[in-house]
């Protein structure tokens, strides 16, 4: 894969709900080795954009492609098998399963063992699942029920589950939302380490500006469903329009 | 679980006792058990309850006379909830626990199932009181069954015989949509055309069983301008139909040329709403049997004394079941199934409806079909059928060669 070809690309995607246009003519691309942040005020259409990229929703117009292949109308599960992993804004684990089982399910699904009616799910891919939990620091809690884990641990588990499909591009919806300062740092360093170790490009939505500017290699500013600025963190930080539209006085 | 074990243990005990008492010596003085699986709840609960009362009364009367062969009768009964499978299970259980005679359940589906899956298999004399299903005595006949109700062949034949004498040509047919109704309707169509070549069926209606609105059927029948409306409606269906037909002047329009199965309960429920002048047929009309044979008088007065009301047809049929079996036992001087069934084939019995014989080849009771007009009776305080013609079973019943042909041999 040459450096020039994007792993994930949106070309002029638009999505409306009735009279309200959540995402308007947005184009963006994520290249290998990149860590791209999407920022924007509440209601800017960030999560809708994510849904269009992952296939939870189909755009009214425009095109989404993954590793050079047009996937605009492909459902989420098919995109997963093309190498797309995502996490959700609201913690979205399987609460009645243990941490380990959560990851095992992820691996089983990714390996297309969904319709395997024989064999023991509880014994499947244990080592690999445990290794993933180790990566996010949950090894000692792997037999606890996901629903009983602390909030921070659930987010970490969420990350491990997202990684269970060995994604080639990772989309994270506010990975640090609701976390304290320490937890946030821990989480970020983990994501950074994983992204670097497996060289996975990351696209993430974030509210915390310090996170964005310490982590992202590129920043996309979304306002009212449209891309306002798309560039290096320093460039974005210096942009007048961004200051006015989004950061306001406090910046 | 524990409850079940306790019950199982008790049943085991009963079984052991049953085996002990099965020896002829010990049998003397022990009551003879009659088993009944009744439709006491569920869809046919109205019929089942009455049949149960009829059977109970018959047993009281027999026991009052000293029982059969010097032994008292004991009725063991269970509620099958109008479910054929339950009927089969219960009947099987009661027979294995020592019952010598079985009262078949009331609804046709259950009676058919018990006939095939219990009576014939376990070789137990079984009386079908209310079901008119032809199959029981024709296609599915087995030698341990006998029936107390004219079957659908006989009822249709009797009615067609009577109607063929009338000048009607254009017939309408209405029946609820169920197996018995359909087969009755088909038989009637066949017989009326055979007995009156000018007859034609101008409209056929099969509203669902338990329908709440008959306006559609009523309008359709009226639109076909029939001379006579033959129906096999009964019970709740007949009540609902009557009221809705009455409301739009149906009966005047057809000059009250309308016929249905008016059993005593339905007439009583209809009360003032019963359409005087329409025709009907009945199985055990209380106004006839209470003034007929001594058995009939004893039955009606006994029932009235015991329950405070006049008995319905369903009670009379079940009553006759027990009484005929008791007479057969006396005639055979034995409660052994084969001896009893032999007596059923050869004896002339006394029933509430007068002398009664059974076909040797089908064990169909040669009971009469009572046809008459609806009147309001001061004496009974309810509408009744003023019976105009009693068509004897010997005329209406299918002949032996007909039965053999229908059986396919």
């Amino acid at each position: 894969m040459s450096l020039a070809s994007p792993v994930l690309e949106a070309k002029g995607v638009t999505k409306s709900f009735g009279a309200f246009t959540a995402v308007r003519n947005v184009s963006l691309a994520v290249y290998p080795q990149e860590v791209v942040a999407i920022i924007g005020p509440n209601g800017a259409g960030k999560t809708t954009l994510f849904d269009l990229l992952t296939g939870r929703k189909a755009p009214d117009s425009g095109e989404v492609s993954l590793f050079g292949r047009v996937v605009t109308h492909e459902p989420p599960w098919r995109r997963v098998h093309r190498g797309l992993g995502r996490s959700f804004q609201v913690s979205s684990v399987f609460p009645t399963l243990t941490a380990l089982e959560n990851v095992q399910i992820g691996i089983l699904l990714a390996r297309k063992q969904t319709f395997q009616l024989f064999g023991q799910a509880s014994l499947a891919h244990r080592a690999q699942a445990a290794a993933l939990l180790d990566q996010v620091g949950l090894r000692d809690r792997m037999d606890r029920l996901a629903g009983e884990l602390s909030y921070g641990d659930q987010r970490a588990l969420e990350l491990a589950v997202a990684l269970s499909s060995r994604p080639k591009v990772l989309l994270l919806d506010e990975p640090t939302a609701g976390m304290g300062g320490e937890e946030t740092d821990e989480c970020l360093s983990r994501v950074k380490a994983i992204a670097a170790a497996e060289s996975i490009p990351v696209l993430f939505i974030e509210h915390d500006m310090s996170v964005v500017f310490s982590f992202a290699t590129r920043v996309i500013v979304l306002v009212a469903g449209e891309v306002l600025v798309n560039g290096a963190p320093a460039v974005v930080r210096a942009d007048e329009r961004v200051r006015e539209a989004y950061f306001g006085e406090s910046f | 679980m524990r409850l079940m074990q306790r019950d199982a243990r008790k049943a085991l005990l009963v079984l052991c006792l049953g085996m002990l008492t099965a020896t002829p010596v010990a049998a003397q003085g022990e009551p003879v058990v009659i088993a009944g699986t009744f439709d006491l709840s569920g869809a046919a609960a109205d019929v089942g309850k009455d049949a149960f009362e009829g059977a109970k009364l018959a047993i009281e009367i027999v026991n009052g006379r000293g029982g059969v062969l010097g032994r008292k009768l004991e009725l063991r009964h269970q509620d099958n909830g109008t479910n054929p499978q339950k009927s089969v299970d219960q009947a099987t259980a009661m027979i294995r626990d020592g019952a010598k005679f079985l009262m078949a359940p009331q609804s046709s589906g259950s009676a058919i199932a018990v006939n095939k899956a219990v009576s014939g298999k376990l070789k137990i004399p079984t009386c079908v009181s209310t079901s008119t299903a032809d199959d029981i005595t024709i296609k599915d006949f087995q030698p341990y069954i006998f029936t107390m109700s004219a079957n659908s062949y006989m009822e249709s034949r009797a009615i067609a015989t009577r109607l063929a004498k009338e000048p009607f040509k254009r017939y309408a047919v209405i029946s609820a949509d169920y197996a018995g109704g359909r087969s009755g309707a088909n038989r009637f169509k066949e017989f009326i055309k055979e007995l009156n070549p000018n007859a034609e069926i101008v409209v056929e209606e099969y509203p669902k069983f338990g329908a709440t609105d008959y306006t559609a059927s009523i309008n359709k029948v009226l639109a076909a301008k029939p001379d006579y409306v033959w129906s096999i409606l009964f019970g709740a269906d007949l009540i609902t139909f009557t009221k809705q037909a009455q409301a739009i002047g149906f009966f005047e329009q057809v000059n009250k040329h309308f016929l249905a199965l008016y059993d005593g309960n339905t007439l009583k429920a209809l009360g003032d709403a019963a359409v005087v002048g329409t025709e009907g047929w009945q199985r055990v009309p209380v106004n006839i049997v209470s003034k007929g044979a001594a058995e009939g008088q004893a039955y009606v007065s006994g029932f009235k004394a015991k329950n405070g009301v006049y008995p319905s047809d369903w009670a009379g049929l079940a009553y006759d079941c027990v009484m005929i079996w008791a007479q057969a036992v006396e005639a055979a001087k034995s409660i052994e199934p084969d001896a009893v069934m032999k007596a059923i084939e050869t004896t002339e019995f006394k029933s509430v409806r007068g002398p009664l014989k059974f076909g040797a080849f089908d064990h169909q009771g040669e009971v009469p079909v009572y046809i008459g007009k609806v009147v309001q009776s001061k004496e009974f305080g309810q509408p009744l059928l003023d019976i105009a013609e009693i068509i004897p079973g010997s005329i209406a019943r299918p002949a032996e060669d007909v039965v053999r042909k229908l059986r396919g041999n």
Binding site: - | S41, D46, G48, E205, Y206, T212, A236, D237, G271
Partner: protein
């Protein structure tokens, strides 16, 4: 086919549909607005019908039916409120499962008690004299009693419209249908509202039971019969939508009546085929309520 016959069938279908509507509208309210599934809703209808036959037997057709129309819905109301406050209230927390079990048990118990109390034999009462017979319009004979059912249902529907549109309870019900989560959040006494809606639903079923009694046989099979049809109606009409239920009830009634012109068997298959078809084409019925599934 004869146009007059079709017209007569449509009128008959509308009258039947009107009764379906009375039962279904209450069911759709308690389910749609409050998420309560009551399988025993038909028992209110059956109890009212039996009570009406008793009153008519005691007081005669005219006075009896009038009394029944006033007294019986109130009795049913008291019964429903008692049930709601003593039994149903205890099972809301666990979602639909407790409700399904409770109301299924209740259905069996009420049916058994009614059979024991009133007997298994069908009962019948006659309509008051002035409602017997028919009127002829364009050569079509319409039973007066059917028209009376239509008129009564029309009045009840008007009252229901008034209740939903104007009263505070009505506003709360509508709000609950639109957004079930909202109620508790804004400090509405959901407990009391549930009792009230259950009461209203029972009264509607009670009125239906009384006015249905003189037109046919009253026996212990009518509870299940009507509630199954009512479920079909509210599924077709859309959960929580009273007016959807009205349209669906009339549709079902008319389809049932008209189908007898083409097929020679009972109309029940039409109801369920219609229900299956509607759900197949529109998996949440004619109207969808957000957050209620």
């Amino acid at each position: 086919m004869d146009g007059r016959l079709i017209l007569a069938q449509v009128v008959a279908g509308v009258a039947t549909g009107a009764l379906y509507f009375l039962v279904a509208s209450g069911l759709t309210l308690i389910w749609g607005a409050l998420g309560v599934v009551n399988l025993a809703h038909g028992s209110f209808f059956m109890l009212a019908a039996f009570a009406a036959t008793t009153l008519v037997h005691q007081l005669g057709p005219g006075l009896g039916l009038l009394c029944a129309l006033v007294v019986v819905p109130l009795l049913v109301l008291v019964f429903a409120v008692a049930l709601e406050t003593t039994l149903f209230r205890r099972v809301y927390v666990g979602g639909i499962w407790g409700q399904l079990l409770l109301s299924f048990g209740l259905l069996l118990v009420v049916n058994d008690l009614v059979r024991t109390g009133f007997g298994a034999v069908s009962r019948s009462i006659v309509a008051p004299d002035f409602l017997q017979g028919f009127v002829e319009i364009f050569g079509v004979r319409l039973a007066k009693y059917q028209l009376a059912i239509l008129a009564t249902t029309g009045l009840v529907a008007l009252y229901l419209w008034h209740l939903l549109a104007r009263s505070r309870t009505g506003r709360l019900i509508r709000a609950a249908v639109d957004d079930p989560a909202m109620l508790g959040a804004v400090g509405v006494d959901v407990k009391a509202l549930r009792t009230r809606v259950m009461g209203i639903a029972a009264v509607l079923a009670g009125i239906a039971g009384v006015i249905a009694a003189p037109r046919g046989a009253v026996n212990t099979t009518i509870d299940v019969q009507i509630v199954v049809i009512a479920f079909a109606v509210i599924v077709i009409g859309g959960l929580g939508s009273v007016w959807g239920a009205l349209v669906a009830a009339l549709l079902v009634g008319i389809a049932e009546a008209l189908s007898t012109l083409v097929i020679d068997q009972g109309g029940e298959v039409v109801i369920f085929a219609l229900m299956a078809l509607v759900l197949f084409v529109m998996p949440t019925g004619f109207q969808t309520i957000a957050g209620r599934d």
